[in-house]
């Protein structure tokens, strides 16, 4: 079979967290094209990916601003994709369930946008302690969202989530988070990252160095331990990013992409800490399911006291 080549069908996709790849989006070349997802995605969207079981340490959800691989949440066993924008003419413009925005607006005394709500969800589920705090619930359920009863807390969550969404959509990191440096000589060499255990070595400044070539001629320095170990449900983001490029030439583009990726992770880690403080504030006073017209939960969350969370 001959298939006409169409260069316009080469499209960026969110392969894994912070790992953009390109796919040739032609049916004959794709095993699982996910037509429903592609139709919902349309030309421009952003989506949360979450799992209904087995959510592990790290953020409880991830935002993708390019069509995601369904396994992009952690690299295996899939995930659920929740696009935000609904481009169907007859729709409300977003995929948030009926009652969510009006319920929030009712409680907050002012209109709440779909984007703000998406961002607040992303921030609350990304809080550093979220997956620890609710680990037992996450074994067999989607992450639950504790919408705060106080408008100011919601707004803080939305602001953090907005930046998280940008970074997870590959926006450039802030200068304060560009602490990593490349040291040594990479010219003519290829990336050769050792096993995770041996790749990162702590240095006197408290950060660490990552060996990028087999002869250690090129090293990545100033990588914090938290950035190195940052993972999404068992998917070590920085190590996997490097490992996926093993054997590739370390040219200028590769070096810039690497430094951008480390910076993004450093900033995301910091934002997850900020989100943690907001999560604590949110849990001190939440809106119950009844405020959104939702029926009571089938079973109470084991890790929570009754009323600690929006049921």
């Amino acid at each position: 079979m001959r298939v006409h080549f169409d260069a316009t069908r080469i499209e960026p996709v969110s392969y894994r967290p912070l790992d953009r790849r390109f796919t040739y989006n032609v049916r004959e070349y794709i095993d699982f094209p996910k037509p429903d997802l592609q139709a919902a995605w349309a030309h421009l969207n952003v989506a949360l990916i979450a799992k209904n079981d087995g959510t592990g340490l790290g953020p409880g959800a991830w935002a993708h601003s390019m069509v995601p691989d369904q396994h992009s949440f952690r690299g295996s066993t899939g995930g659920w994709v929740f696009p935000l924008w609904n481009h169907a003419g007859e729709g409300a413009g977003h995929f948030l369930a009926d009652g969510v925005l009006s319920g929030l607006a009712r409680a907050y005394g002012q209109a709440v946008s779909a984007e703000q709500t998406f961002d607040a969800i992303l921030a609350l589920l990304s809080a550093t302690s979220y997956t620890n705090r609710f680990g037992r619930d996450l074994e067999n359920d989607f992450p639950h969202v504790p919408f705060p009863s106080e408008l100011a807390v919601f707004q803080r969550a939305a602001a953090i989530g907005s930046r998280l969404r940008a970074l997870q959509g590959l926006a450039l990191p802030g200068d304060a988070f560009r602490t990593a440096r490349l040291e040594g000589e990479g010219g003519g060499r290829t990336l050769a990252v050792p096993t995770p255990r041996n790749a990162w070595v702590q240095t006197d400044d408290g950060a660490g160095t990552v060996r990028l070539t087999s002869d250690q001629a090129l090293r990545l320095t100033g990588v914090s331990a938290r950035a190195w170990t940052f993972s999404v449900s068992g998917y070590p983001v920085l190590y996997k990013w490097l490992k996926a490029r093993d054997g590739e030439p370390i040219d200028r583009t590769q070096q810039r992409d690497l430094l951008d990726t480390v910076g993004r992770i450093e900033e995301i880690v910091s934002l997850c800490d900020s989100a943690d403080a907001v999560l604590a504030e949110a849990l001190a006073g939440t809106l119950g399911r009844d405020r959104f017209g939702l029926p009571a939960r089938r079973a109470p969350a084991a890790a929570l006291e009754d009323g600690d969370e929006p049921a």
């Binding site: 959800a61 929740f82 009006s102 009712r106 005394g109 006073g285």
Partner: protein
């Protein structure tokens, strides 16, 4: 609430208003006030009361002409019931 509950599933969210109806807001707030005014002891669990204390002044923004009066009546009832 579960992530799954927050997004429309089989069909796209229909084009309904994302804003509350002030008449519904008024009905709910007056219903809460009626419960408080009829009670001899606090009818709400502590967490429910805490929620109302937070969202009452926020919600009342939907009813600007009645806002001050709603807040005054709510505060008075909470003070009375917490003293009982």
């Amino acid at each position: 609430m579960s992530q799954l509950d927050l997004f429309a599933r089989a069909k796209p969210a229909r084009a309904s208003s994302d804003l509350p109806d002030p008449a519904d807001v008024r009905r709910e707030m007056l219903d809460v006030l009626a419960q408080l005014e009829a009670a001899e002891t606090m009818p709400f669990p502590q967490k429910t009361l805490a929620m109302w204390k937070t969202i009452w002044p926020q919600m009342s923004r939907w009813l600007p002409d009645e806002r001050d009066e709603l807040i005054r009546r709510f505060d008075a009832q909470v003070t009375r019931l917490q003293a009982s």
